[in-house]
Symmetry: C2
C-alpha cells in the first residue's frame, strides 16, 4: 500500500546529522569514517528502512554487480544443475546472478541479451540457443563485456568456453560397449549444427575405429535431443536390416527415451540391448534400469564458468583460456550385469582390448 519508499541517503544524512558523502562512505564500508559516526548512520538506515539504490550507484560508478546467465533450456535438469553451480560460485563474490531462459529460440535469445546489455551486466555466461547466428553476440563483444560460453560453443567464435571433454567421453562410452563385445553400434539423436554433437560423434567413431569396426557397422542417427527423440531414433535403429545391439545416446534424455522404446518392444535394456547416456543427470542413477552414463560434473562446470567471468571482469579482458572438463563413465545397469566398477578418464586412456565376446 505504502507508496514506494523514497528514502535516500540525503534523508538518512539529515537523520544522522552528517553529510550525504559520509553516508555514502559508510554504505561502502569505508575505513575513513569514525566508528561512532558509522553506527549513528547505520542506526538511521535501520530506522528509516532505507533501500540502497544500486542503479543510481552503478550509473555513477560506471560498473555493475550483476552478471547474466542465459540458458537455452531451463526445463532440462541438466541446465538447472549448471545454473545451480554458477550461483554457488557467485554467492561468495558479491555479485548477483540473473538467470534468463531462451527456450532454444534465437529470437528470444536476442531479446534477452539486449535486456541484459541495457541492464548493464558486468559479465555474461551463456549457453547459446540452437541455430544461433554467428553475429548474435556482436553487440556484446563490441561493448567489451566479458562473456563465456558454457556447455556449447559456436563454430568460429573466439569467446572462451567451458565444456566437458565430449570427444573423450563418447570414446570412453563406446569402448565400454565394444569391450562388452558389441560390434554393431548406433549413435542416437542430435544433429551436426551443434558442435557438441560433432565432438561426441567424433569420439564414438574413433573408438569404433580402434576396435576395427567397419564404418558400415555403425549407425549414426540424427534426431531430437529429447526423450521423444530417443524413442524415435531407437525405433529407426531397430528397423534396419542388420540392427545394432548397443547405442550411445547424445544425452540422458535421449537414453531414457531409448530405454522406454526398448521396453515397449518387449526388449529388456541391459540384456537384449545396451544403452549408454551422456551427462549423468541426477535421475540416471534412479532409473529403471539404472543408466550407465558419461558424467560431466555439471555443477562443477557451472562454477568454473562463473569463476572465469569473474576473473575476466576483474582483469578487464574478454579473453580467457578454454576449460575442457574431465569426464568419466559411470557404469550402472543399462549395459548388462552391474560390474560395480567405475571407469574413469585415467584408466581409459587406451582402449580395452581382449574383452570381445
Amino acid at each position: 500500500m505504502a507508496a514506494r519508499s523514497k528514502t535516500t541517503i540525503l534523508d538518512i544524512a539529515r537523520e544522522a546529522g552528517v553529510s550525504k558523502s559520509t553516508v555514502s562512505l559508510v554504505l561502502q564500508g569505508s575505513s575513513l569514517i569514525r566508528s561512532d559516526t558509522a553506527s549513528k548512520v547505520r542506526k538511521a538506515i535501520e530506522e528509516t528502512g532505507y533501500v540502497y539504490n544500486r542503479g543510481a550507484a552503478n550509473l555513477r560508478k560506471a560498473y555493475s554487480n550483476v552478471i547474466g546467465m542465459v540458458v537455452n533450456d531451463l526445463t532440462n535438469p541438466f541446465y538447472a544443475e549448471l545454473a545451480v553451480g554458477m550461483e554457488r560460485a557467485f554467492q561468495s563474490a558479491s555479485v548477483v546472478p540473473f538467470i534468463a531462459n531462451t527456450a532454444e529460440s534465437p529470437v528470444r535469445q536476442e531479446e534477452v541479451l539486449k535486456s541484459m546489455l541495457e541492464q548493464g551486466v558486468a559479465g555474461l555466461i551463456v549457453s547459446p540457443a540452437r541455430g544461433t547466428r554467428p553475429d548474435a553476440f556482436r553487440q556484446i563483444e563490441a561493448a567489451g563485456i566479458p562473456m563465456v560460453f558454457a556447455m556449447r560453443r559456436l563454430p568460429e567464435s573466439r569467446v572462451p568456453v567451458v565444456v566437458p571433454d565430449n570427444w573423450r567421453g563418447a570414446a570412453l562410452a563406446a569402448r565400454h560397449l565394444l569391450a562388452k563385445g558389441h560390434r554393431r553400434l548406433a549413435f542416437l539423436a542430435g544433429s551436426p549444427d551443434l558442435v557438441v554433437y560433432r565432438e561426441r560423434v567424433g569420439g564414438f567413431r574413433e573408438a569404433c575405429q580402434e576396435f576395427g569396426i567397419p564404418a558400415s557397422d555403425i549407425a549414426v542417427l540424427e534426431g531430437e535431443t529429447s526423450r521423444k527423440g530417443g524413442m524415435a531414433c531407437l525405433d529407426r535403429a531397430l528397423t534396419a536390416e542388420d540392427p545394432p545391439t548397443a547405442a550411445l545416446c547424445f544425452n540422458d534424455a535421449v537414453a531414457f527415451g531409448a530405454l522406454l522404446a526398448l521396453r515397449r518392444r518387449g526388449l529388456e535394456p541391459g540384456r537384449n540391448f545396451a544403452v549408454v547416456g551422456f551427462d549423468d543427470v541426477a535421475e540416471a542413477e534412479h532409473y529403471m534400469p539404472a543408466l550407465t552414463s558419461v558424467a560431466v560434473d555439471t555443477a562443477g562446470l557451472g562454477e568454473r564458468a562463473a569463476h572465469m567471468v569473474l576473473k575476466m571482469i576483474q582483469s578487464r579482458t574478454t579473453r580467457a583460456e578454454d576449460h575442457i572438463g574431465a569426464v568419466n563413465l559411470v557404469v550402472r545397469e543399462s549395459c548388462g550385469p552391474d560390474r560395480s566398477s567405475e571407469y574413469d578418464t585415467a584408466k581409459h586412456d587406451t582402449p580395452q582390448q581382449g574383452a570381445a565376446a
Copy 2:
C-alpha cells in the same frame, strides 16, 4: 578488448544533428517526432552501436521494467516449468524477468530479495523457501512492491497467492485409490511446516472419511519431498504390521522414489501396490510404469502469477485475489491396468461409490 562503449544519447544527438531530448523521444517511440527526424536518429543509433542505459532511465523515471522471480528449487523440473510459464507471460509485456534460485535456503532467499530490492524490481513472484520466517518479506512490503506467492503460501500472510487446488487434488487421487478397492492407504512424505502439505493431507483424509475408512487404517508418513524421501517413506510404510496397499505421494519426485523402492523389494507397482503422484511433471508420462498423477497445469499457474503481478504493478496495489488453479487426475499405469480414462475435477465432485472390490 574495446573499452566499454560509452556512447550516450548526447553523442547520437550530435551525430544526428538534433538535441538529446529529441533522441530520448524517438527512443521512447513518441509520435511527437517527425518521421524523417526519427529515422535520422535511428540511423545514428545503428551506426554508433549505442546501447540504451536502462538504469539511468529508471533512475529518472522512478520505475523499472524488471520483475524478479525467486524460486525455491530450480533443480526440481516442476519449478523450471513454472518459471517457463512466467517467462511466456512476460515476453509480451515488455518486462524482463530475472530468475533467482534460493535452493530452499531462507538465508539465501534474504540475500536474493535484498538484491532484487536494490536493483529496483517493479514486482516479485516468489515461491518461498522452506522455513521462511513470517517477517522475511517485511522490507518488500514496506517498499510497497507488488508481490505474489506462487505454489506456496505463508501461514498468516496477506500476500496474494497462485496455487493449485491441493485439497481437491489430493481428494481426487484418494478417491481413485478407494474406488479401486484399496482400504489401507498411506500418504508419503512432506511435513506440516508447508501449508501445501497440510492441504494435501487434508484432502486425502477427507476422501478416506467419505469412504468410511477408520483413521487407524491410514498412515501419514512425513519425509523429504524428493526421490530419496519417497524411497524411505515407502520402506517405512511396508514394514508396518498391517501395511497399506496404496499410496498418495506428496509430489511426483516422491512417487518416483516409491516406485523404485517397490521394485527393489520385488513388488510390481500397479499390481501389488498402487501409487499416485502429485504435480504431473513431464516425466510422469514416460515413467515405467507411467505414473498416475494429479495434474496442476504448472506452466499455466506460472503465467497466471505473471499476469497477476503485471496487473498489480499497473494498478499500483499490493493486493489481489488469490487464484486457486483447477486440478485433474491423470490416470496412467501406476495403480493397475490402464482404464484409459481421465478423471477430471468436474466428474469428481462427489466420491465414486460402489467400486470397492
